[in-house]
Symmetry: C2
Subunit: 399 residues, 2 copies
């Protein structure tokens, strides 16, 4: 029965079996140390310096049986003595990444080229554990608010956001697209479940090589009906983000009961959208979490609900976190005739989508949060490739 490294402290005085990857070796005179890495941490094994164990290279997968002995200087306060070992897998070559360092020294392109190895580094691995916890926090918060999880198609007949950055594919001899968002489907599902969320992949054929955009990412989407306006959506965003921050532990921010907000018209921005510098400044002025509401209609998608009385503005919002937009959302149009007008009468590519409105949909709205960007802001990464397991961009399609 295998014991995980974090559980060793409960087995002092017993002979136990551990298993993991040979992470580091320290050879000192007559006695040496081997450090095994498993999914929970490290275990130190004390071996004679002539042990065959030391002949194996980094990332050899080993099973080690030995006596658990308390030692304050060992990781977790326990080390294994009098070991016997068995090789479970021998690497075919020495790894191209030096995993034993406290921080990886290799450049980002090298770490991405060898992602299956680089991701094994504990500091790198931890980012993706935070991502998994954050998604759990998102789902739990929305489950608690009566939302239902949905799974909607990524193969679609029309571009949801704009035609410019959409991937096209051959679908049994005709043209199909990869969904840029689940927007149309989550709106249609408001007619079924009233409150829905989806945690899935979205695809953007981003023609720019920046740290802020990738061709594929995980979008945490929600949509809800029977709202008054976008402030009802923002209240749900607050709960979802609070759930995610709780899950992120000490990396997270305190989420106030009501996140402050400022209308676009009052931000001092002399344009129709925020520039990155504006996002940083607004966070400096208002706090690490702040909503900007009422974005000009000129820069929001056609399904956005205008602001009553000020139709050049919209019932929309972004949530900024530590100087960067992490959530975008708003109230949507809900009347069929408003869609026909917004589309300028060219409704044919959207016929399937428009059914939801044609047959009665309440006032509704929703939001989307990019998971990789959220985690990047948590850990202070400036490039989304640091928080994506296997990033996809103009030049990168593998591993």
């Amino acid at each position: 029965m295998r014991v995980l490294s974090t559980d060793l402290a409960g087995h002092v005085g017993e002979r136990v079996t551990i298993a993991g990857w040979l992470h580091a070796k320290r050879e000192l005179g007559s006695v040496s140390f081997a450090v095994l890495r498993d999914r929970t941490g490290f275990a130190q094994v004390v071996v004679p310096s002539n042990s065959l164990l030391l002949s194996h290279g980094s990332e050899t997968v080993l099973e080690v049986e030995g006596l658990a002995v308390g030692n304050e200087q060992a990781p977790g306060g326990v080390e294994l003595h009098e070991p016997s070992f068995r090789v479970l897998a021998e690497p075919a070559e020495a790894p191209p990444i030096e995993l034993r360092r406290p921080e990886l020294k290799e450049s980002l392109p090298v770490r991405l080229d060898f992602a299956p190895v680089a991701l094994r580094h504990p500091r790198v691995r931890d980012r993706f554990r935070v991502a998994a916890a954050a998604v759990q926090g998102f789902r739990a918060a929305l489950d608690g608010l009566g939302f239902t999880e949905i799974s909607t198609p990524k193969l679609v007949a029309s571009a949801t956001e704009s035609g410019a950055n959409v991937f096209t594919l051959d679908y049994f001899g005709r043209e199909a697209f990869l969904a840029q968002s689940p927007q149309f489907y989550k709106q249609a599902m408001v007619g079924v479940f009233e409150r829905v969320y989806e945690t899935g992949h979205v695809f953007r054929a981003e023609p720019h090589d920046t740290g802020r955009h990738l061709a594929e990412y995980t979008s945490l989407d929600a949509e809800l009906g029977f709202i008054q306006d976008h402030f009802d959506v923002m209240a749900v965003v607050r709960e979802a983000v609070a759930g995610m921050m709780d899950a992120a532990g000490e990396l997270g921010a305190e989420v106030p009961a009501e996140i402050p907000w400022v209308h676009f018209a009052d931000t001092g921005v002399d344009d129709v959208d925020l520039a990155p510098a504006d996002e940083r400044r607004i966070c400096e002025e208002h706090g690490e979490l702040v909503f900007v509401t009422g974005f000009p209609m000129a820069k929001r998608p056609f399904y956005t609900h205008p602001e009553p009385g000020r139709p050049e503005y919209s019932n929309s919002f972004d949530l900024l976190f530590r100087g960067m937009e992490i959530v975008t959302g708003g109230q949507r149009l809900h009347r069929y005739e408003d869609y026909v007008a917004a589309l300028g009468g060219d409704t044919e590519p959207f016929d399937g989508y428009l059914q939801a409105f044609k047959y009665g949909l309440p006032p509704h709205g929703g939001f989307a949060l990019g998971l990789e960007r959220f985690v990047a802001q948590l850990v202070g990464a400036t490039n989304l490739r640091e928080t994506t397991l296997f990033p996809r961009d103009m030049s990168r399609l593998s591993p």
Copy 2:
């Protein structure tokens, strides 16, 4: 403050506000009934037969304020009297699906063409609530076993399962594929987290129009390291499926502490794979949940681990449920040189994938479960289009 229909019983004697879709009307002499549908159920409203409320058609979205009065014959035992109402959204036309019937009468193609409406029917909607609960049950079971959730790319450089039924797309001027499974990535992630799962979309360019296959579906995937053989994987399948059956309530099956299993060589099948009739027969013989193990290598993918001592068979399994395969899995090869041999030396398209093995991966295995097929078996649907929100097949790309 809106009250949901299931909560009305707690408000008898109060004036309350409900909201939902006008589901049915019954006009009887001087008094009439309107039935409102919300996400939790139905609420009956008693209206004078000359009320303007009755002039509205099916699927009108209404907010109704009235006095909650106990009435044993009303759904939930409560109805609303003395109503006033407000129209939240008026359908642009009468719905093409008669939602008021206890079961929908429309043919499957019509229900799929008008999915945003047909999905509103409570019996249809409930299937997707079961699906959502089943996914939750899957995740909770694996979280409890120390698994970590991952999110891996769907845009890939090489076909994972076979080249035949893969979608091809233009990726910034070069060829890319849609992932047929997260197989390679979940194996690589065993090197990082040891135990991983993913609940994501997979894509198969299925050239056959059957009820058993779709071009896009939700695959519940898991992979784990440090196993002895495929029986360790089957033990995890048992826990995951038990979690899903619990979530499915009375539709689910009892899951025995150990699900029975039969080796392929002992099934009496005179071929290298099971036919649908074999799957039905084996369930009749062994129970509604049964593993078939040891499938011939001839029909399993190249990464499958052969059976020690009988290399024409494999350390693989399918789980049959009520006469149909719902899970496929097994032990994988874990040595780099075994992959080089299995690929016949042509490793170049798989270089990124093979890194995981080149740099040390323990014995491991995993499985995949098709969510829509699982739910179809639960509810007794014979066509996966009945348990997919917006199915994709050779002829259907919208809505």
